[in-house]
Symmetry: C2
Subunit: 211 residues, 2 copies
């Protein structure tokens, strides 16, 4: 059962099976129409269980209005509404670095539409970057079955330019040039921390050159 946020973002009602990631899910299944979110959750579960990194998706913020308390059973929320998150969806720690990112899918084949983002998400990422966090976006081109890690600074460049009347999407060619291609793998399914390693190396080089 699916429905939509006010933002139009799809939300899947979690069932028992989706609550826990099954480590034995074969990659074929993973690639058969698994959402980017599911793929990332499975990858994060792998990173966690192997002591590599601790990254979680944040729960969806809910505005609770009415709750019932049946005797001898759990409290039941009877009326609640979705709230827009004030942060990105994912954050965590890897090698002592603070990671903060969002994951977005697009069916477009030549560019990534900026309307996938909201002002508050960009504001949050800029604040995290100012606090020396490692910020980026994981973008999946569904039709091409290609996933990229794009550093936040590259996203900001197009975002700020759009605000001044610039184009409303980031060309795939730019993402290929400035981002990091993440190839599907068995364990983890999406080895995005390899891309993060490359991003860190590039940042250290940048700091070094700046000296």
């Amino acid at each position: 059962m699916n429905f939509h946020y006010p933002s139009g973002k799809k939300y899947k009602v979690a069932d028992a099976s989706s609550k826990q990631i099954r480590p034995h899910t074969p990659i074929q299944f993973g690639k058969r129409g698994m959402s980017l979110e599911d793929e990332l959750n499975e990858s994060n579960q792998y990173y966690l269980s192997h002591g590599i990194a601790v990254v979680h998706k944040k729960p969806t913020p809910i505005q609770i209005v009415k709750v019932d308390y049946p005797k001898r059973s759990a409290a039941v929320i009877k009326e609640a509404y979705f709230r827009q998150a004030s942060t990105t969806d994912y954050n965590g720690v890897y090698k002592g670095y603070y990671l903060d990112f969002d994951a977005k899918e697009t069916k477009r084949k030549t560019a990534f539409p900026l309307d996938n983002f909201h002002d508050h998400q960009i504001r949050h990422m800029k604040a995290c970057l100012a606090a020396k966090g490692i910020c980026f976006t994981i973008i999946k081109f569904v039709e091409l079955d290609q996933i990229f890690l794009l550093p936040a600074t590259n996203l900001f460049y197009f975002w700020d330019r759009q605000k001044k009347g610039g184009r409303k999407s980031i060309p795939l060619s730019y993402i290929k040039e400035n981002g990091y291609l993440i190839k599907y793998h068995l364990n983890p399914l999406i080895p995005y921390l390899n891309a993060v390693d490359n991003l860190l190396i590039k940042q250290h080089e940048g700091e070094h050159n700046a000296k």
Copy 2:
């Protein structure tokens, strides 16, 4: 309107006013029976608005079962249940460091009961520590109106000992000796990042001595 988690932890239904922290709230009000959570949210808002750190409380995880879609209005959650969080409540980034912590209140005056914690929270903090995150607990002794930052390693010491039949609480004297007292301040209300600075200095000394 208040009710309880299965865990017994209080949950306040968020209303419009509690959704956004008011920067102009006078400290007197802040100290008049404000919950530790409210005090921390206000402090984190100060740190965020001054570009010092980005720390947020995670939303309460909800298991959604039934949702209605009235025409021309927002989706309404008609049946949902509270889920136990698999992480701590707070995390974020400060000076490039990943911060991860929980905030607990106790009415006890001489010791902090360990039953304020759950296995999964300790597991999570141990995983974050292994990934070089900065993990701790902020403990408020409500009756004493004293707040301490206790490093996670000190918490683990008592937690693991309890599992082997040791005492079920951490003595205040131990917390005073091994933790960091956080004195109420005007802006921010709870300047806990000062305690984090001291914790970082101590860690660097430890690493230095280990060499």
